[in-house]
C-alpha cells in the first residue's frame, strides 16, 4: 500500500502561522519494550478475533460479528499515543478497540456470547459495549452516529477545561454520512479536541472506496471545515503511534480537530456472513504476505535480535491462553438472569 504522507491542506498550511500545520511525522523507531508491547497487543487482538470467528461458526455467538483482523496496528499504535482520561469511541467493529483499551477479554468474549459476565451483562452484544472506567464510549451500531457522539466527548473536555482528547474512529463508509460533516463543522468552529480517525480499509461493507466516494483521499475530507488531515500507513504500528502523538499534541495545544486517515485492510469479510465476492483472493493474500502489521513487528524483533523465535512463541502461547480462558468463560458463564430483561431501562 502506498503511503502518501504529506501535508493535509493548502488552506491549513496558509492559516497556520501560530501553530504550523501538522505534517505526517516519520515513523519513530520503537524501543525493544515498545516493539514487544505492540507485538503482544496486536497478537491478542488477532487471536481473540480468530477465536470469535470460531465461536460464531459453532453458534455460540449470534447476530452480527465484525472482525478486526488485519487492522490491529491502528488501535494498538493510537493507544500508545493516548494518556489517561483520553476517550475512545468507535462503531461496531469494536472488539480490537476494547482490548486495546484494556477491557477484560473475558468480559468482551462473554458479551459476544450473550452471557451475564459480559461487559454489558449480555444485553449489548458484539456491537454495543462500553466502559466508563476505561473511557471507552462504545461500540455503536449505527454507521456515523459515533462521530457526533465523539465530538460531544470532546465538547465535554473543552467545557471542563481538561487536557483530554477524544479519539473518534469511523470507517471509509461512515465518512460519507451527513452527520460526520455536521460534526466537523462544530468541532472546527469550537476548536474541540477530537482526533477523527478514519480507518480506511478500502471497503464499506462490499462497496469499494472508488465506487462509493467522490473524494477518495479521506485526509482531505475536512478541508471545507479547515480541519487538517494526514494519511498514515495503518499497517505500520510505528507510523500510527507517531501520527497519534502528533495529533494528540495538536489537539492538546488547542488547535481543534485533526483527521488521521489510517490506510489499512481487513482480511475477513465485513461480517461473518460476508463471502467477500467483491475482491479477489489474491488481493487479500498479497496484503497478508507483504503488509501484515504483526509480521512486520515480528521481523524487526528477530532482525534486531530483540527476541528469539522461542521467546515470541512464548508470547503467542501466553496470548492463546488468555484467549482460551476468555472463550471457556464465555461458553460456560450462564445467560443473564431473566430479571435483567427489565433492568437498566431508566435510572
Amino acid at each position: 500500500m502506498a503511503v502518501a504522507a504529506r501535508k493535509a491542506s493548502a488552506k491549513s498550511k496558509a492559516d497556520a502561522k501560530s501553530s504550523s500545520a501538522p505534517v505526517a511525522p516519520k515513523p519513530a523507531e520503537f524501543s525493544k519494550e515498545q516493539e514487544l508491547s505492540a507485538y503482544r497487543g496486536m497478537l491478542l487482538i488477532r487471536r481473540f478475533e480468530e477465536k470469535a470467528g470460531q465461536l460464531y461458526g459453532m453458534g455460540f455467538i449470534g447476530g452480527f460479528c465484525h472482525l478486526y483482523i488485519g487492522q490491529e496496528a491502528v488501535v494498538t499504535g493510537l493507544k500508545m499515543a493516548m494518556i489517561d482520561g483520553d476517550q475512545m469511541i468507535t462503531a461496531y467493529r469494536d472488539h480490537g478497540h476494547m482490548l486495546a483499551m484494556e477491557l477484560s477479554p473475558r468480559g468482551v468474549m462473554a458479551e459476544l456470547t450473550g452471557r451475564r459476565g459480559g461487559l454489558s451483562k449480555g444485553k449489548g452484544g458484539s456491537m454495543h459495549m462500553f466502559s466508563k472506567e476505561k473511557h471507552f464510549y462504545g461500540g455503536h451500531g449505527i454507521v456515523g452516529a459515533q462521530v457526533s457522539l465523539g465530538t460531544g466527548l470532546a465538547f465535554a473536555n473543552r467545557y471542563r477545561g481538561n487536557n483530554n482528547v477524544s479519539v473518534t474512529y469511523f470507517g471509509d463508509g461512515a465518512a460519507n454520512q451527513g452527520q460526520v460533516y455536521e460534526s466537523f463543522n462544530m468541532a472546527s468552529l469550537w476548536k474541540l479536541p477530537v482526533i477523527y480517525v478514519i480507518e480506511n480499509n478500502r471497503y464499506a461493507m462490499g462497496t469499494s472506496v472508488a465506487r462509493s466516494s467522490a473524494e477518495t483521499d479521506f485526509s482531505h475530507r475536512g478541508l471545507s471545515f479547515r480541519i487538517p488531515g494526514i494519511q498514515v500507513n495503518g499497517m505500520d504500528v510505528r507510523a500510527v503511534k507517531s501520527a497519534g502523538e502528533m495529533a494528540t499534541e495538536w489537539c492538546r495545544a488547542g488547535n481543534g480537530p485533526i483527521i488521521l486517515e489510517m490506510q489499512t485492510y481487513r482480511y475477513r469479510g465485513h461480517s461473518m456472513s460476508d463471502p467477500a465476492k467483491y475482491r479477489s483472493k489474491e488481493e487479500v493474500q498479497k496484503m497478508r504476505a507483504e503488509q501484515d502489521p504483526i509480521e512486520q513487528v515480528k521481523a524487526r524483533l528477530i532482525d534486531k535480535k530483540w527476541a528469539s523465535e522461542d521467546e515470541l512463541k512464548a508470547i503467542d502461547k501466553e496470548v492463546r491462553d488468555i484467549v482460551a480462558d476468555a472463550a471457556e468463560f464465555a461458553q460456560t458463564d450462564p445467560e443473564p438472569d431473566v430479571s435483567e430483561l427489565w433492568t437498566d431501562i431508566v435510572l
Binding site: 464510549y137 462504545g138 452516529a145 465538547f155 452527520q179 455536521e182 468552529l189 437498566d344
Partner: protein, 466 residues
C-alpha cells in the same frame, strides 16, 4: 379616503401586542418604508413600516398602550387633499378578516369576548384543584409559561455547573421563541451555546457530552426539526443505558415547541407525543400550566435519563399561577387532577388541556360534573391516576392534538379497557387531530385540529345525554 394603519401580526401566533413608541408624529409626512412606530410582543420588539404614502393624520393608540389586538386601527394616514376632518367618514374598514391569524383555540374563549385579556389568562375561570405537591398556603405569582421555562433553566444552571444549553439561536438571538432570554448574559457563551443549523449533529454532540457526564439541555427550535435528529435521540440517547448494562446513560433534556402553532402548515405542525412515548429509555413530559412547566423542567434537568420535554408555542404566552418557592421541583410521572368531578373524566395534557378546560365550562352549564386529569407526563404514564378516576366516574374521554392512529389516547383506552373494563359505563372516546397532514388554509386548519364542540359532544355521548 384616509387609510387606517392596523396593528400588525408579527408572528404566526401573535394575537396582541404593545404600542411602545411612535417614531412619526401627527402631521408628519411619511413615505412607504418609513419606520413609524415600534411594536412590542412578548417575544420581541419590531418596527412598523408605512406601506403607503401620506400624512400621519391621527394616532389612535398612544405610545405605551398594552394589549392592543392584532388588526386594531392604530393610526390614520391621510392622502393628498385630505384633512383630519375626513377621519371617520369613510375610512377603510378596520375590521379586517384577520388574514394573518387563525382563530386558534386560545383566542376562541367562549365567553366574555369583551373582557380585556391582560397577558391572557389561559382559559375560562375554573378553580384549579390544588396540586398536592405544592404546600398549602404557598404564595403564587402569575407567570407566563415562557418565563417559567426560562426560570427553571436559570435556576438549574445556577445550581449545577454541569448544566448547559445548546441549540439554534439560544444565545445571542435570545431564543427563537425567547425561552432563553437573558441566559447568555448571566451564564456566558461557554454554557449558552449557539449551534449551526445541524440538528442531527448537535443532538449527537449533546448526547456525547451527556455520556461524558455533563447535563445538556438541547433546544430544538421546534420538534419538527428533531426528526433530523431522531437517530441520536432514539438509538444513542434512549438505548445506551440498557446496551451498556447500566454502566453509561445520557442525562440530557431535549426541549422545544411541539405540535401545531398557527398557519405554518404540514411540515411545521405535528405533535410528537405518541412517537416519543413509544420508546423505552425515554421520559416524555408535556406540561400545560406554567407551574408544571417550571417544576417539571427542573426535574427533567436533574433526571439522569434522556427526557423529551414537549412545549407548545401557543401556550408560551399564557399566564398561570406559579408557586413562589426557592426550589420548586415536581415529580415526573405523576398526573395532576386539574378539576375534581363526579360524572365523567376528561384526560388530556399540554395544549390538549385548553379544549378540556373550555369544554368543562360549557358542560358545567349543562349540569355535567367533569373531572379533568392533566397527565403532564406521557412516559412513564401515571395510569394509576387514570384508572382511579375512571373507577370514580365510569366514563372517559381523552383529548390530544396528535394524529389518531396509534395515538396516546389509543394506549390509554386500551389500558383502561384491560384494567377497568367492568367500571366503564360507556366506550372510551378518544379525540385527536384529524388523520390528515396539517393544511395551511385557516378554515381547513381549524377543521384538522380538535375543537371544544367535539369534546362536549363526546362527553354527552359517554354520559348518554344527547
Amino acid at each position: 379616503m384616509p387609510i387606517e394603519i392596523l396593528m400588525p401580526a408579527l408572528s404566526p401566533t401573535m394575537e396582541e401586542g404593545n404600542v411602545s413608541k411612535w417614531l412619526k408624529h401627527e402631521g408628519d409626512k411619511v413615505v412607504a418604508g418609513d419606520v413609524i412606530a415600534e411594536i412590542e410582543t412578548d417575544k420581541a420588539t419590531m418596527e412598523v413600516e408605512a406601506v403607503d404614502e401620506g400624512t400621519l393624520g391621527k394616532i389612535l393608540i398612544p405610545a405605551g398602550t398594552e394589549g392592543v389586538k392584532v388588526n386594531t386601527a392604530i393610526a390614520v394616514l391621510l392622502g393628498d387633499g385630505e384633512s383630519a376632518d375626513d377621519i371617520g367618514k369613510g375610512a377603510a374598514p378596520a375590521k379586517a378578516e384577520a388574514p394573518a391569524e387563525a382563530p386558534k383555540a386560545p383566542a376562541e374563549a367562549p365567553k366574555a369576548p369583551e373582557e380585556k385579556p391582560a397577558p391572557v389568562a389561559a382559559a375560562p375561570k375554573i378553580e384549579i384543584a390544588a396540586d398536592p405537591d405544592i404546600p398549602a398556603g404557598t404564595e403564587m405569582v402569575s407567570t407566563t409559561v415562557r418565563e417559567a421555562l426560562r426560570d427553571a433553566m436559570a435556576e438549574e444552571m445556577r445550581r449545577d455547573p454541569d448544566v448547559f444549553i445548546m441549540g439554534e439561536e439560544v444565545a445571542e438571538y435570545q431564543g427563537a421563541y425567547k425561552i432563553t432570554q437573558g441566559l447568555l448574559q448571566e451564564f456566558g457563551e461557554r454554557r449558552v451555546v449557539d449551534t449551526p443549523i445541524t440538528e442531527h449533529g448537535f443532538a449527537g454532540v449533546g448526547v456525547g457530552a451527556a455520556m461524558a457526564g455533563l447535563k445538556p439541555i438541547v433546544e430544538f427550535m421546534t420538534f419538527n426539526f428533531a426528526m433530523q435528529a431522531m437517530d441520536q435521540i432514539i438509538n444513542s440517547a434512549a438505548k445506551t443505558l440498557y446496551m451498556s448494562g447500566g454502566q453509561m446513560g445520557a442525562p440530557i433534556v431535549f426541549r422545544g415547541p411541539n405540535g401545531a402553532a398557527a398557519r405554518v402548515a404540514a411540515q411545521h405542525s405535528q405533535d410528537y407525543a405518541a412517537w416519543y412515548s413509544h420508546i423505552p429509555g425515554l421520559k416524555v413530559v408535556m406540561p400545560y400550566t406554567a407551574a408544571d412547566a417550571k417544576g417539571l423542567l427542573k426535574a427533567a434537568i436533574r433526571d439522569p435519563n434522556p427526557v423529551i420535554f414537549l412545549e407548545n408555542e401557543i401556550l408560551y404566552g399564557q399566564s398561570f399561577d406559579v408557586p413562589k418557592l426557592d426550589d420548586f421541583v415536581l415529580p415526573i410521572g405523576k398526573a395532576r387532577i386539574h378539576k375534581e368531578g363526579r360524572d365523567v373524566t376528561i384526560i388530556s395534557w399540554g395544549i390538549g388541556m385548553t379544549y378540556a378546560v373550555k369544554a368543562e365550562a360549557e358542560l358545567r352549564g349543562l349540569g355535567i360534573d367533569v373531572e379533568i386529569i392533566d397527565l403532564r407526563t406521557i412516559r412513564p404514564m401515571d395510569l394509576d391516576a387514570v384508572i382511579a378516576s375512571v373507577k370514580k366516574t365510569n366514563r372517559l374521554v381523552v383529548v390530544e392534538e396528535g394524529f389518531p392512529q396509534s395515538s396516546v389516547g389509543d394506549f390509554i383506552a386500551n389500558q383502561v379497557s384491560q384494567r377497568a373494563f367492568d367500571h366503564l359505563d360507556a366506550p372510551v372516546i378518544t379525540i385527536a387531530g384529524k388523520d390528515v397532514p396539517m393544511p395551511y388554509a385557516a378554515n381547513l386548519e381549524k377543521l384538522a385540529l380538535p375543537n371544544v364542540g367535539e369534546v362536549v359532544a363526546a362527553v354527552k355521548a359517554v354520559t348518554y345525554r344527547s
